[in-house]
Symmetry: C2
Subunit: 344 residues, 2 copies
């Protein structure tokens, strides 16, 4: 099975390379970020997206800032990096991994003796974040694969695949690992309006790997379940709190339908997605045109408002299990167990 | 309140005029059908759509066939009309109203003395079907308006409005009648993938009438319900049997979400939509491109299959009430009561 890398450090050009996801499936294109501004723009337009990938992007972003910063005194250098971190962090307020990746690298730079060492430490830590993410996805995959019957059809929403991570994927990592273990797994991918990450990205990366996938509109999910065509749902997460899983808008609808049809609803996510401090979660509201316009056509009449929250919240009581790199957590998800897992 | 006509008979040109719905909301255009072939094509591409409108189109279609047929003997004339009826009937296999409208006019032509009288009878009956449909929508509206609290926000899926009927609408007819009765009603319209009738048509016709409407992607419906933003759901129907309501794909998903959130789920439909004979219902599967392509862009990778059923089935036990022109029917919807209503 191929193992697509989504973004990585280019040591020759001291830059970040990434697959520009807004162009898929029509065009596969590797782009380069040579500045924090370029990286922030790529993240804002969802050229790079997906919770774990944002963690890696945050980490490499700080390494990039450190590599490019021309300040010579440690104080000014530090202040410049912190400004870059702020800029990066503001691009996607809901994704907890982005801030987590940024903080991992900022912390690793603490106590460095001079600018050169700070740069080295930043890059080394960012590479560790990348490597850990890949290892993490494989661990999630192996734990999750045990939950799937053989044969089975798994419904997924949005893209929690290689393209949402450093590689391999979380929800799709489970599917890849199950297939490596010789299970016969098919996928039904919700197209995931408004930005169609399911149709564009999930279908693309599964087809690349030869994994059978069928695309449906989001509104068909319940009908497929009623027809007995779905054995399990697996989705990723952008933030998991003590109360709810925050993930792509539409996840909650699928969770409700899964509960109604007594189909297991699994969330696959690294522990870096857990945010157990009780900080309030801001749901990012994105632009009107993402809903109103598709391609070259406008579908919503002028003057008619739209809603476009990027995420919704699925209460934990609708979640059959959370698949993490340290194992599978089951209801009632006691806070102290989650905290323990996260800090071990 | 304006009362848009969707399709009508043009006596001067002996043709059918209709609003070409595939062009909305970007272009408002009245087109003409001078032959059954043109009408069948308009119905197939959904230039004319919506269960009650299809009933009216079926009726006018037979009148058109009768008006244009050049056969002089009653036998050949009749045979030609029956062929036209078959062609028209095959365009949309799920919508029961289409066949019903066709049969109404075929039956009215029975026993006519000569071709000229048959033509007259056909047109007179088609005009009656048109007038009855409008009266029917107003009656549905008035019965349904009583069910809505004041103020309230109603979620609807697809377009069961003036554009789906001769005028006024069924689900949107209830909203129009409630507003005529001075109730403060706002609408949340699901965009209704794949063909976006909610975004394009429901939003357009409500905006034309100054009724507040917000468009959401289909996947946001459950999230809006969870937020307490929805007081009731009202949808139309393409076919109501003793077991289920067949309506636009995605209706079932909304019904499941409404049940989960204890929100009333109403179906507004004329009795001509009831098909109580136990005939099996064929769910029309439409083309791949409706899901895979939007505007000028392809979103599903080549070679990846899609599903595209035009309708789904919502079991009657998820339906809080059916609003008909003869009043509101409530669970457990005993077959004999439904039959009685229909045949009265």
């Amino acid at each position: 099975m191929k193992d697509t890398r989504t973004l990585w450090w280019d040591p020759e050009h001291q830059s970040i390379r990434y697959i520009e996801q807004t162009l898929l499936p029509q065009r596969y294109e590797i782009r380069e970020c040579r500045s924090i501004g370029q990286l922030a723009a790529a993240i804002r337009r969802l050229g790079i997206r997906g919770a774990p990938a944002l963690g890696v992007a945050g980490a490499f972003g700080i390494a990039l800032a450190a590599s490019r910063c021309r300040e010579r005194t440690p104080e000014r250098f530090r202040a410049s990096i912190v400004r870059s971190a702020g800029l990066l962090r503001a691009t996607r307020p809901t994704a907890v991994n982005l801030g987590w990746g940024i903080d991992r690298v900022l912390n690793a730079m603490q106590g460095a003796e001079g600018v050169a060492e700070a740069r080295q430490r930043a890059l080394a830590e960012a590479e560790r974040v990348f490597a850990e993410d890949t290892a993490c996805c494989h661990a999630i995959g192996e734990h999750g694969a045990l939950l799937l019957p053989d044969p089975c059809t798994v419904l997924t929403h949005c893209n929690a695949g290689a393209l949402a991570c450093s590689s391999w994927g979380t929800a799709l990592g489970v599917i890849r690992s199950a297939r490596e273990a010789k299970k016969h797994v098919k996928v039904v991918a919700c197209e995931t309006r408004p930005l169609l990450q399911g149709a564009r990205l999930t279908a693309w990366e599964l087809a690349q790997d030869g994994i059978p996938v069928t695309v449906i509109t989001d509104s068909m999910a319940a009908d497929c379940m009623r027809a007995g065509a779905i054995d399990a749902v697996i989705v990723g997460a952008d933030r998991i709190t003590g109360e709810a899983v925050f993930n792509k808008i539409g996840t909650y609808m699928v969770a409700v339908a899964a509960r109604f049809h007594a189909i297991p609803f699994y969330v696959a996510a690294p522990l870096s997605t857990f945010e157990l401090t009780g900080k309030p979660c801001i749901i990012e509201e994105r632009g009107r045109d993402e809903v109103a316009r598709i391609g070259n056509r406008t579908f919503v009449p002028e003057g008619v408002p739209v809603k476009n929250p990027a995420f919704d919240a699925t209460p934990l009581d609708l979640v059959s299990a959370i698949i993490t790199e340290r194992g599978v957590v089951r209801p009632p998800y006691p806070m102290k167990d989650l905290m323990l897992l996260k800090t071990q």
